[in-house]
Amino acid sequence: MNVKEWIKTLTFYEILLGMKATLSHLLKYRPITMQYPHEKKSLPSNYRGMLALLRYDDGTEKCVGCDLCEAACPSRVIRVVSAEVPGEPTKRYSKEYYMDMTRCLFCGLCVKACPVDALGMTQEFEWAVYDKRQLHLNKEQLLAIGDRAYPVREKRLEFQHPNVAYFNVGFKNIPEKDIQ
């Protein structure tokens, strides 16, 4: 131990160094704690919050029920029951769509996997509930989240480019599929 260190010890240099930030705030007061429920933090635009199902601008749901999100999900959050749209043969949609948000890791893989951008991650995170079962969301709930989180909607896929105009369209005048 040399003299320099002796001096540092005697003058409490390390403590001062450690207290530097604290002491500087003592001089220059500015509140840092957010008053959370009353104040909201602005989130980054790519924040991965609550998942939502989206719609096209005419209100039709985007999801085609391809089950790719289900396949991509690492924690088996999603369950899709796909079927033919009633009255529109060969058009596919998700008849039922469930997300068990208690298991979700918010990794965003389902959003990446979706071929029609039907899933979105919202900025919502305030999903504390008293009963875990309330976090088992169905299609209507997920669409409702999407509706409030994504006010700007895309136009329908059919109108985006002629090559996708027939991506998932039904045809008319046909007996319906009735085997369930």
């Binding site: 060969t90 090559n163 991506f167 085997i179």
Partner: protein
């Protein structure tokens, strides 16, 4: 000439991607590459089809050849050096081919049912750049309704034409056609009409992309979600291997892989679209016990206790012969075995019968009597390799479609000669017709096969004589038969069948030229009066021409139900012990009873027709019915209704509430073949494993468990842990039953039995077999109505299959258009059919293959039609015949 070349084929050595391959001459490069593990990507090539080389995907570089070659159409040559994956040029070619295909293929994989198991998807992941050179718009086809079961999405089509070639070359249906030209070629049926075909599902299975998909399971699954179970189809006797694909314990899809099973991946409508039957909402869920007029659900213990105690009481009071049992040939071998063991060992009666009695027994008995085996001496492979095929009353494309495919393959690809004695006449229709392929066709009425068979025999023996060794070793037999045949005048035979001496002469010379001759006998023979005699006659024919014991030759009776053959072999017939031995054979009886540790009653019990009599007289008090529906299948003339009335106990083990089950005192729910383990024996005698794909519906249990439980209640415990244990016991009792080889080894005729037969046994019924059945009076006004199996159904069972009902939902009385025109009837008209037994109403359908003077009605919808049927019992085999009726037809 072809036969002499059947020595070892020449082998050719070539190098593929540095690997050396040695393959037979004539093999295609793509096939040789597959053998050494080099996968050449392809769309249009399929081993079952002739090469078309239209997709250009399988291009490979072959040294010393100027350009890239399509490996699917290039045969191998000695010293060839092929480069597939290791050539930049090939890689570039494949990239550009895929670029061309993807120029029009929509990127709708997410909504395509093929997504995840699609060749195009796989290859584009492997080869394509992600950016296309094409900026043009993709082609778009107008989507129209295609068919109730098969869906097309022509935008996805890569125009490999596999479906079209499969439909033509394998199925011989030709229902699909490439319409238009160039990139705008699309697969259509006819104009804007919906598809009307055999619905074999072959096009769905063979499509490399998602252009043709099954509507049955559309959008219900993604391939990676499915669990598979290889099993055996539960409809007809062909015993096709099917793979049940299930998701969350429900059946999603059925498929069959190329190269697997006896069917080699081919299926029929029943197999491919009929699987929904086991998930039908009307399945019986719990045991039901009759309370007055209604049924009360019960628990198993209660129901079994009631059945067991009642059986015990009846047995003690009236003796074991007051109890009888009837089982269906749709059960597994294990079920059948335990059933007959229960009846014989625990109840102590031989009064058991199964659906073999409805016809297949005729064939098996004849085989047993002449050649000493109860199985075919040929296999499906022998049918394919045969030189001459003789079909008698088979209607094979409808009753046994996969056997039909083997015949088609033999005739169309291998050049076999086909002789048919059928009621149908050649006509191209929406479903294939084996008669169209025949080189010699004898179209006789359904009740006149005997005349044609005898005429053909007579012609064969008169023109060619009998084989020398037969003449030498069995002179008396030969002479007796010749005498019988010469007793038949040609004029009578010609008159009876409508074909001339020279017609038979041509067919006879074809028949005699064949080295490998297979005779297939179908239900129209086996289930009609004289069926046993006719099968015997056909065996005589092979015997006299010296072909019976030649390899690749034989008589093959076709089984209707999936395990008819097994039912016979397991001894589920009153006078047959496990292994097909006669109950009168004391030695085998002792052997079996030693295995069981139980005595077997020696009185033969009696067959189904005798049960009916004894039930009517009140001698039988209790009847166990397992999966059978005698009330629904036997005609009222047989007295079945009165017979069931008088029973003290009628137990039905059923999947559905059948007519018989409604009369039952106790109904027990069982498992369908998708829900249990076991084995089925197909018509060629191949024992194949049935595997469980889904859990049983409701409280259903396998049949053997029920017998096992009953035996415990009856105080004579017969316990089994699982199916494997029963299988082990079966193999102990019958060392011959060794299941589960990839291909069956056909049994050989037993020389001792053949000797005994030609030595004098044949005389027993010689006269009756070679006497022409008395001619039916020819009523020009009346039609001969024949109840037949339709391609789209199997028994009453398949009437619960949604998919099949979409194709055929009602029974129509099919007649020839000219016959209809003569009677001023049109398609869809209502007619009354009447004879002295009653009058019923039916809707008319027109089919050109039905001969004049005949009408065909699908037996599955025969509820009312049964009232018109004539009923007779074979004196020799006790087979009840009830498939024909003479009736007047009156337009309503």
């Amino acid at each position: 000439m072809a036969t002499t070349q059947e020595t070892k084929p020449d082998l050719v050595t070539l190098t593929i991607d540095g690997k050396s391959a040695r393959v037979p001459k004539g093999t295609l490069v793509i096939e040789a590459a597959r053998q050494v593990g080099v996968m050449v990507p392809h769309f249009c090539y399929h081993p079952k089809l002739t090469p078309d080389a239209n997709c250009r995907m399988c291009l490979v570089e072959i040294e010393k050849m100027p350009r890239l070659q399509t490996s699917c159409s290039t045969p191998v040559a000695e010293g060839m050096v092929v480069k597939s994956a290791k050539s930049d040029q090939v890689e570039a070619a494949r990239k550009s081919v895929l670029d061309f295909i993807l120029a029009n293929h929509p990127l709708d994989c997410p909504v395509c049912d093929q997504g995840g198991r699609c060749d195009l998807q796989d290859f584009s992941h492997e080869y394509t750049a992600t950016k296309s050179q094409f900026q043009e718009l993709k082609r778009v086809f107008q989507k129209e309704y295609f068919s109730p079961l098969i869906e097309t999405q022509m935008n996805r089509c890569v125009q490999c034409l596999r479906c079209v070639r499969y439909c033509d070359q394998v199925m011989d249906v030709k229902a699909l056609a490439p319409v238009g030209r160039g990139t705008l070629t699309e697969i259509k049926a006819f104009g804007t009409h919906e598809l009307d075909c055999e619905f074999c599902g072959g096009c769905v299975q063979i499509c490399p992309v998602g252009a043709i998909t099954s509507r049955m399971s559309m959008y219900e699954f993604r391939p990676w979600m499915l669990k598979r179970a290889d099993s055996i189809c539960g409809y007809c006797g062909d015993g096709c291997q099917i793979t049940y694909q299930t998701k969350n314990n429900s059946l999603i899809e059925v498929s069959s892989t190329h190269g697997s099973g006896r069917n080699n991946g081919d299926l029929c409508a029943r197999g491919y679209f009929g699987y929904h039957v086991s998930e039908h909402p009307e399945r019986i869920q719990t045991p039901l016990i009759r309370q007055g007029e209604t049924f009360q659900p019960a628990i198993w213990e209660e129901a079994l206790e009631q059945v067991g105690q009642t059986l015990l009481a009846i047995k003690q009071q009236h003796g074991p012969d007051a109890i009888a049992g009837l089982i269906t040939g749709r059960c597994t071998n294990e079920d059948l075995y335990v059933f007959q063991k229960f009846m014989r060992g625990v109840v102590g009666t031989n009064q058991i019968d199964s659906s073999v009695r409805y016809g297949h027994l005729n064939g098996v008995r004849a085989l047993q009597r002449v050649q000493g085996t109860h199985r075919w001496t040929v296999s499906f492979d022998d049918i394919v390799e045969a030189d001459v095929l003789l079909l008698v009353g088979t209607n094979v494309t409808e009753t046994n479609p996969i056997t039909g495919l083997k015949i088609k393959e033999a005739v169309k690809r291998k050049g076999a000669k086909l002789i048919t004695i059928e009621a149908l006449q050649p006509a191209v229709g929406t479903i294939s017709n084996i008669v169209n392929l025949a080189h010699h066709h004898f179209g006789v009425r359904a009740d006149g096969f005997q005349g044609a068979v005898l005429a053909l025999m007579k012609s064969v023996l008169e023109t060619r004589g009998m084989a020398e060794d037969v003449k030498a070793s069995a002179t008396a037999y030969g002479n007796d038969l010749m005498a019988q045949l010469s007793g038949l005048a040609w004029s009578r035979l010609e008159n009876r069948t409508g074909y001339s001496l020279s017609d038979y002469g041509h067919a006879a010379s074809t028949f005699c030229q064949g080295k490998k001759v297979v005779i297939l006998v179908g239900q129209d023979v086996l289930r009609a009066s004289g069926g046993y005699g006719m099968t015997m006659n056909l065996l005589d024919l092979l015997l006299l021409t010296g072909k019976l014991s030649n390899p690749g030759c034989g008589v093959a009776p076709l089984a209707e139900e999936n395990n008819d053959q097994g039912a016979f072999e397991m001894g589920a017939v009153s006078d047959v012990l496990p292994g097909g031995f006669s109950i009168d054979h004391a030695e085998s009886r002792t052997a079996v009873s030693k295995h069981w540790g139980r005595s077997i009653p020696d009185s033969s019990g009696g067959a189904l027709p005798q049960f009916l009599e004894r039930m009517q007289s009140g001698a039988i008090k209790a009847l166990l019915v397992v999966g059978e529906n005698p009330l629904g299948s036997l005609p009222p003339v047989s007295g079945i209704e009165q017979a069931l009335e008088g029973l003290q106990l009628l137990v039905c083990q059923e999947l559905f509430m059948t007519e018989t089950a409604r009369k039952a005192h106790v109904v027990l729910p069982v498992c369908s073949s998708a829900e249990k383990e076991g084995t089925f024996t197909n018509t060629e005698g191949h024992v194949q494993a049935v595997r469980k794909a889904v859990e049983p519906v409701g409280d259903g249990r396998p049949d053997w468990e029920i017998f096992s439980a009953l035996s415990i209640i009856m105080g004579d415990s017969m316990e089994y842990g699982d199916v494997k244990e029963i299988g082990k016991e079966i193999r102990n009792v019958l060392p011959g039953i060794r299941p589960l080889g990839p291909t069956p080894i056909p049994s050989k005729p037993d020389a001792m039995v053949v000797c005994g037969y030609v030595g004098g046994e044949y005389r027993r019924d010689l006269d009756s077999r070679y006497r022409l059945i008395d001619e039916q009076p020819d009523f020009s006004d009346e039609l001969l109505v024949s109840l037949r199996q339709s391609l789209f159904h199997s028994g009453k069972f398949s009437l619960k299959a949604d998919g099949l009902l979409k194709v055929e939902s009602e029974g129509k009385l099919y007649v020839h258009p000219d016959e209809a025109a003569r009677r001023n009837i049109g398609e869809g008209d209502q007619v009354d059919l009447c004879n002295d037994r009653g009058t019923i109403r039916a809707k008319v359908g027109l089919r050109e293959r039905i001969p004049m003077g005949m009408a065909v009605f699908p037996e599955h919808f025969d509820q009312e039609m049964r009232g018109l049927l004539s009923y007779a019992v074979d004196p020799e085999t006790q087979v009840p015949y009830y498939k024909l009726a003479q009736a007047r037809i009156v337009k309503v």
